[in-house]
Every structure is written in C-alpha cells, then in structure tokens.
C-alpha cells in the first residue's frame, strides 16, 4: 500500500468497529437467555462494605483532577504537533530543528511555571 491518502483504507476500520460492537451487544443479549434475574432492594444497593450507603455518591471531588486534565490537553496537543514534525524532520533540516527547540522551550517555561505553582503536587 502507498502512503498516499486512500479513503478505502479506512473501510476495514469501520467494519472492525461494527463487528467489535456487535460482539459486545450480541453477547450481552444472548446471555439474557441463560442468566437468572432475581433482583431485590438490598441486592441493587451500591456496595459500601455491606452497610446501607450514606448520602449520594456524586459528591464534589478535588480540583487537582481538573488541573491535571487541563495540563494534559496542553501537553497532548504539543505531542501531536511533534508527530508531523518528526515524520518530515529529515526534509526540513536545521530550520525544523531550531523551530522545535523554540517550541519546546516555550512549553518548558509553562511547565516550570506549573511546577512552581504546585500544579503537579498531590498531597
């Protein structure tokens, strides 16, 4: 196969997606024929070490998770930017090298700032 963009390359992905999804749904539906179904109130309670659950489970959670998600978006975009750069690096030579050093430097400043502000701490 060539490295040119050919839409039919993506057809097997779609077929695989449908087959994998069908495998999941059909297995669960078929299981309905053989599995028992006898629910009662206590069985359907969320597990909390055997005691009746106290309050709703959907409680506020720490901000840290939000900060990590934000940092992830920033750095993941950086990583994705590097993929095309890495693939054509040999063709763009020293210009590409300098550009990427500048790019990483700018990101490193942000990284050091986040570190200094304590965004990477978990205690």
């Amino acid at each position: 196969m060539t490295t040119d963009f050919v839409p039919t390359d993506y057809l097997p992905v779609l077929i695989f997606f449908v087959i994998a999804g069908a495998f999941g749904f059909v297995t669960i539906l078929l299981g309905k024929l053989v599995r028992p179904r006898a629910p009662y109130r206590e069985k359907l309670l969320p597990y909390e070490c055997g005691a009746p659950p106290i309050s709703d489970a959907r409680q506020p959670f720490p901000m840290r998770y939000y900060i990590i998600a934000m940092l992830f978006v920033l750095f993941d975009i950086e990583a994705v930017f590097m993929y095309p750069w890495a693939v054509v690096f040999n063709k763009i030579g020293v210009y590409g090298l300098v550009e990427m050093v500048l790019f990483i430097t700018v990101l490193l400043i942000g990284y050091v700032y986040a570190w200094g502000k304590g965004a990477l701490e978990w205690d």
Binding site: P12, V13, I15, F16, P46, G93
Partner: protein
C-alpha cells in the same frame, strides 16, 4: 482492488485477528495465574482440564451465566454501555498492527487488516476513547468506590498517555513514518537494527508508561483492592464485568504488540538465517515475552501510592521523554549531514 474484495479481505482478517486476540486474552488470564502461582511456590489452577488448561473457558461460561445487576441509583444507559465503550477501542486498535510481511490473498494484500498511513495516531486516538468507558462506568455506578476509581483512572491514563505519546516521537524521527508497517520495515536486517538499540531511553519510558496506562500492578490505582474494593467496576457483574476485564487484557496485548513493532522489530526475524520462520511467530514471541514481563513485575513490586504515581509521571518521565526527543533530533541531524 475491487470494493467487494476489500470488504471480504477485511472481514476474513478481522475474524482471524479478533479470534487470536480473544483467545490470547483468555489464555493470558490463565498464564498470569500460573506464572504468579509458580513465583509464589503454588500450583495455580489445576482442576479444570489437564493442568487447569480449560480454566479460562470455564471462567468465561460462568461469567456468561451470571446475573446482570444494575444498581438502583445508577444511570442505567451509561452504566450498560460503558463496558462496550471500553471494549471496542481495545479491539479495533489491532486493525493497524502488521502481523506478517505482506502476502497476496484473494487478489489483495494481507498482513495487516489495514495499513493506515497514520496508524500510530489512530491507535492513540482510540486508546483515549477507552478511558471514557472507565470514567463513565465509574460515574454511572453511583457508588463512591466506583467514582473514586474512575477519577483516579482518568487522571492516571491521561498522564501516562502523554508519556507514551512523547516517548515514541524518537522512533518517528528515525523511521519517518506513522505507518506501523513502514516502522517495522525500517528495522529489518536483524537484531542489531532494532530501534531498541538507538532508542533505549524511549523504550524504558514507553514500557513504564504502558504498564501504568493499562492499570497494571504496581500502578493499578483505579482498582486498588485494599482501598477501593475493585475501583471503577465495583458495581459490575456478569458479562459487563467480563468486558472490562477483556478490554484491560486486550489493551495489555495491544501495548505489547506496539512495543514489539516500535522497538523490537515487529514481525522481523532477529537474524538472517531465521527468516524461514513466518513473521507472525516472531511478533507473537516478542509480544508474549513482554506480557511475561508484565506478569513478572506484578509478582515482584508492591503497589505505589497515587501521589507518587502522578509525581513520577509528571516530574520524571515527561522531562526525560522531552530530553530524549531533543537528543534524538540533534543526533539524526548530525548523522544526516
């Protein structure tokens, strides 16, 4: 190639690859129990079949016939769909893994289900979707343990995905392609041409991040049973529980396959005179060696704390991966000029 041929070829290869992956998952659970047992001076499963060889099938049948419990406070639709959201990406990642050299089949080319020119990006895109299944499953359960497990898993998976993403840039600089087949072919010529020797740092960061990404001990925070019962799948039972399990093991096999392709030459033989052995045997051997390594570290290391895990990812692995990219880029530039 005709459209009909493309579809037929794809369906045949998907059936074979999916069969092999599902069977590998089943026997991975068996291998894991056996290897851990031998490391702990036990025998492991011995009852079902000779040496317990039919144990995974018995387990599968048992899970298939178990009651499907949906807790009363759960968000029913999301709860029901989350395991499948987890399962699909874990399976279809295998679509771009080249398992053998190209051979002609039904007038088309076999060896990969589809050789996308953005194969690596495709795998990482779908790996990210898998994290949604875990987070949604944990949230929809309406159980505190499940919610905490889901959140931890989300934070852990995205942090270590970043490390994986950065650690493979070095390989891309060398092979100048995102197609997994091109990356494999770049490493032909035997053992000493593997990327492992030119990218050792990337290999180490990749393997550490892969263990964390698949929620394995010593990084199995999302399901740390001593603190979170079972983490995000605490409330799941029967087949839906099995799908989370299946997805986790399929993901392990996928990251090991990927490590073999990126660093260990994929389906290429380690030496010229071994070329008569078919490619898929080499890929399977390399993948299983890595899977054994996964089980080995599970049997060896204690679990780390969650804050240690996040600190290690963000403060050690990411800077190391970035420096590796810069060093590789300068190296490639010097060699080419």
């Amino acid at each position: 190639m005709e459209l009909g041929t493309t579809v037929l070829l794809a369906v045949i290869q998907i059936a074979v690859v999916m069969g092999v992956v599902l069977l590998s998952v089943a026997y991975m659970t068996y291998a894991e129990r056996k290897v851990l047992s031998f490391m702990q001076d036990r025998l492991g499963p011995m009852e079902v079949g000779p040496w317990g060889l039919l144990q995974p099938i018995a387990d599968g049948l048992k899970l298939f016939m178990k009651e499907d419990i949906i807790p009363s406070g759960a968000n029913k639709i999301i709860f029901a769909v989350a395991p499948i959201i987890c399962l699909i990406p874990a399976l279809i990642g295998f679509a771009v893994v080249p398992y053998s050299e190209g051979f002609s089949l039904l007038g088309g080319t076999g060896g990969t289900i589809t050789d996308l020119n953005v194969g690596l990006l495709y795998i990482f895109a779908f790996a990210s979707v898998g994290a949604y299944g875990v987070i949604l499953g944990g949230w929809a359960s309406n159980s505190k343990y499940a919610l905490l497990g889901g959140l931890r898993s989300g934070a852990q998976v995205i942090s270590y995905e970043l490390v994986i993403g950065l650690s493979i840039v070095g390989v891309l600089l060398l092979s100048e392609s995102l197609s997994l087949r091109a990356i494999t072919e770049h490493q032909d010529g035997g053992f000493w041409h593997w990327n492992l020797w030119v990218q050792p740092v990337a290999f180490v960061t990749y393997v550490i991040a892969a263990v964390a990404e698949t929620n394995r001990l010593p990084f199995d925070m999302p399901e740390a049973e001593s603190e979170l019962v079972a983490g995000f799948f605490t409330e799941y039972s029967g087949m839906r529980f099995a799908f989370f399990f299946l997805a986790e093991y399929a993901n392990m096999i996928l990251v090991s396959c990927l490590a073999s392709v990126l660093f260990l030459g994929g389906y290429e033989a380690p030496a010229e005179f071994l070329n008569f052995v078919p490619g898929f045997v080499w890929l399977a051997l390399k993948t299983w060696a890595l899977l054994f390594f996964f089980i080995w570290i599970r049997g060896t290391f204690p679990r780390v704390r969650f804050d240690q895990l996040m600190k290690f990812g963000w403060k050690v692995l990411i800077p190391v991966a970035l420096v590796n990219i810069l060093v590789t880029a300068v190296g490639v530039y010097i060699v080419n000029n």
